[in-house]
Symmetry: C2
Subunit: 74 residues, 2 copies
C-alpha cells in the first residue's frame, strides 16, 4: 500500500488528532482499550480498519467518524 | 447487533443512495465488482465493513466515504 491509500491517510489523521490531545500512543490505546501494538500499526497506516474499530477510535478522539474520514481527505 | 449500530445505519444510507440512483442491488453489486449476496448483507447491516470496502461502495455511489458516514448519522 502506498502512502496515498485511505488507510494511510486515516492513520495520519488519527495521529494528528491524538497528538493534538497531548496524549501518548500508549496512553491513548489504553484509554480506548486497544492493544498498544495494534493501535500503533493503525497510525502507521498498516490496517484496513473496520467501522467498529474506526468508531472506537473516533469516540476516543471525541469526534464523529465522518470527521476523521474528512480529515483524511475522504 | 441492534438497528442502531453504525453498521446498520450505514447499510440504510447505502441502500437509500443506491435506490436514488434507480439501480437494482444486483446491478450495483456488478458495477462495483462485488459479490451480489455479500453486497446484500451490507445493505442489511450485517457487515462490519472495512475502509477498503466502504471506499469501493462510496466510489460506486459517486460520493466521498465521509459523506456516507455522515448520512448514517456518524
Amino acid at each position: 500500500m502506498g502512502t496515498d491509500t485511505l488507510q494511510s491517510r486515516i492513520g495520519v489523521a488519527i495521529r494528528a488528532r491524538r497528538e493534538a490531545m497531548g496524549i501518548s500512543q500508549e496512553d491513548f490505546a489504553d484509554h480506548i482499550e486497544m492493544h498498544r501494538a495494534y493501535y500503533g500499526t493503525i497510525e502507521r497506516g498498516r490496517r484496513n480498519l473496520t467501522l467498529v474499530t474506526l468508531e472506537k477510535i473516533a469516540v476516543g478522539l471525541g469526534i464523529p467518524p465522518s470527521r476523521l474520514l474528512k480529515e483524511a481527505g475522504s
